[in-house]
Amino acid sequence: MDVKAGVLEIIKDVTGEDMSNQMDENLFDSGLLDSMATVEMLLALESRFNIQAPVSELAREDWDTTNKIVASVTALMG
């Protein structure tokens, strides 16, 4: 399964924004991902990629852009 396409789709579901042209846009600073949306995204990533996403101690600097989310998910998939 293509991780990048899946992540983009989930981000679009949660934030309403298509980030495919702004893969390095900071999702927290721009206000697209608030805490609520972050949890929704993590839950969606969990079920889609069968990973265990860290809720507490979510190192935000590893999850703040679409590119980094793709990398973090890939790493969690092992």
Partner: protein, 404 residues
């Protein structure tokens, strides 16, 4: 032996900085003298509690530390083999138990017996240990290192009132000495923080507190005439708002400066909070280490649990509920009084209301103007709302209405 309350007067800084010189020299040359660091930390903690009026608190701190040590050690050991919700919740409850009892005594329940458990810093130390237990539950903390645990729990610069650090972050800094260039940067920041802190705490907060007391006096004279409200409550709110910010931000700058000298980058606590455009942004700028702690360990976990198990389907209902839970828990943490709880309730309601407004705005994008003027209005509105909540928070209304 002198008695030294943290950051209370200029002498404190002289003694503390002198004591830290060997550590700083070591860090400059890329060596971290852990034993010396621990000794300085313990010595300055000892100096907080070394006179008659504080010695009981010192004993309470020792008992408290042993209690948390055993709980965290026990839980991490257990968690390696098993992971049930029951044990997690029971451990978390036992970890919160001391501060819960102290808060009961603060509210006048079993006062004499339970007040013995309290000491300066108990509310901040609780975040350190309960945070570790939650991280262990999530698998973010895997091993128990007794020495690192105690260095974290009893890290002196932030002992009395934060900023609240996280174990994993702290341990990363504390395990090594920073790169020399980076450490020089840190020392530069420390100097800047110290001087800004002096201006904040010893000058601005000092005068703000005087005006706060003056306006309280004026309001009380209205109270003595039997009035239920007084115009003087307005300047009480604003002068308290100024006092609280400059006192607390000043204190936080000191705590950070001393942390930096010790080569530990504790998280910052304030970032121009009175310039926030809405209440959510306010909490991203005000007492940040506390509000981020609550965001990560209360709000997000609550939302995660509710959405995962689909206990409530509607996401907006979940987030509204989570805002109230989050801010009410924060209110209770401050103390079991009607004004702290009301303060939490007001902020919960404001956060939920802010979300409703943002959803409404998104739906009617084309009809609602958004420009420099509306942004300025939002800043002003947020500021005045916060001042209103601080009037509740400061507790003066309790005196004004019920202890005339």
């Amino acid at each position: 032996m002198p008695n030294l309350q943290p950051y209370a007067d200029p002498n404190y800084f002289v003694y503390l900085l002198l004591a830290l010189v060997p550590l700083a020299v070591g860090l400059y040359f890329g060596k971290r003298f852990v034993t010396y660091e621990v000794l300085v930390s313990l010595a300055f903690i000892f100096l907080i509690f070394d006179d008659k009026s504080h010695s009981g608190q010192g004993l309470a701190l020792i008992i408290y530390s042993i209690w948390q040590f055993l709980l965290v050690w026990g839980y991490i050991t257990y968690r390696k083999k098993q992971n049930t919700g029951m044990v997690f919740y029971a451990t978390a409850a036992l970890s919160i138990l001391p501060i819960f009892l102290v808060r009961l005594s603060g509210a006048g329940i079993f006062h004499a017996q339970l007040s013995l458990l309290g000491f300066l810093g108990i509310s901040y130390l609780t975040f350190r240990s309960i945070g570790m237990i939650i991280e262990a539950r999530d698998g973010a903390v895997k091993d128990f290192h007794p020495v690192m645990f105690l260095r974290f729990m009893l890290f002196m610069p932030t002992l009395s009132s934060g900023p609240i650090d996280r174990y994993s972050r702290f341990a990363k800094d504390a395990a090594v000495a920073p790169e020399r260039e980076h450490y020089i940067d840190l020392l530069g920041k420390a100097v800047k923080n110290l001087f800004l802190g002096f201006a904040y705490k010893f000058i601005i907060a000092h005068y703000a507190e005087m005006t706060y007391h003056y306006f309280q006096g004026m309001a009380m004279s209205d109270a003595h005439h039997g009035m239920l409200l007084s115009w003087w409550l307005i300047p009480v709110a604003y002068s308290y708002g100024m006092y609280l910010f400059f006192d607390f931000a000043g204190y936080s700058l000191f705590a950070l400066a001393i942390s930096y000298v010790m080569g530990i980058e504790s998280p910052i606590n304030f970032n121009k909070p009175y310039g926030a455009k809405n209440i959510k942004e306010f909490w991203n700028r005000w007492h940040m280490s506390l509000s981020f702690w609550f965001r990560d360990f209360v709000f997000m976990r609550f939302v995660f649990l509710f959405l995962k198990h689909k206990w409530i389907k509607n996401r907006n209902t979940v987030s509204t509920l989570a805002y109230f839970v989050n801010m009410l828990v924060m209110g209770f943490w401050h103390g079991l009084t009607w004004y702290y709880i009301l303060y939490g309730f007001m902020h919960g309601a404001a956060l939920a209301g802010n979300d409703v407004w943002i959803r409404f705005k998104r739906k009617h994008k084309d009809k609602i103007p958004h420009n420099k003027f509306t942004e300025g209005f939002a800043v002003v509105l947020t500021f005045h709302f916060v001042m209103l909540t601080f009037l509740v928070f400061c507790g003066f209304l309790d005196t004004f209405w019920f202890h005339r």
